[in-house]
Amino acid sequence: MDVLISIKETITVQEALDFIQSPECGGEVIFTGTIRNHTKGRGVVKLFYECYEAMAISEMHKIADHVKAQWDIKKLAMLHATGDKYPGDIAVVIAVASAHRGIAFDACEYTIDTLKETVPIWKKEFFEDGRD
């Protein structure tokens, strides 16, 4: 399994697609998480993503190791953005390529679910009403 893991200011879906593209694979599943303009009924101005980068990279590699052990996945890309993000911006991209689509869905959902549980990244929300 080829793995691309990256944490940086700006990420794009295209770089994940480019990485997982392979004529050996027939099915690709991509998850993108974008900044919403509201959360729990409150307008969102921006989010700030803080990251304990060295450990985050390490935890992302652990997720990749689990994916590799569980499923026959050929390519896995995990990208996370940091810093100030505004509604519509991309915060995270997970992209998986496999010969069979069922396991690609399973592996992609496992990856984003686990990332949200274990990878040390924090978002701080800035609301339109100015309160925390």
């Binding site: 803080e50 985050a56 949200k116 990878v119 040390p120 990244i121 924090w122 701080k124």
Partner: protein
């Protein structure tokens, strides 16, 4: 190496970094020390300690040479 604090733990402690307090030799004791000095940390739904970039259990030994981090509930993605 000392202790790194992130997210709301950093806000509560008012600093992104502190030295390992003397006489603290394991993760459980460090958590207790943090709760004693910053009681607001007890309101977090979870507070993990990472040692050298891996999540650690309470029994894990720590020294001033370790990279220790206070990890409030993560919210990436």
């Amino acid at each position: 190496m000392g202790i790194l604090l992130f997210g709301v733990a950093k806000d509560i402690a008012g600093t992104p970094k502190m030295d390992l307090p003397e006489h603290i030799t394991d993760v459980g004791a460090l958590k207790q020390w943090l709760y004693n000095h910053y009681p607001a940390l007890m309101q977090l739904s979870s507070m993990m300690i990472a040692v050298n970039r891996s999540y650690a259990t309470d029994g894990q030994a720590i020294t001033a040479a370790d990279e220790i981090a206070v990890i409030p509930p993560v919210s990436g993605g």
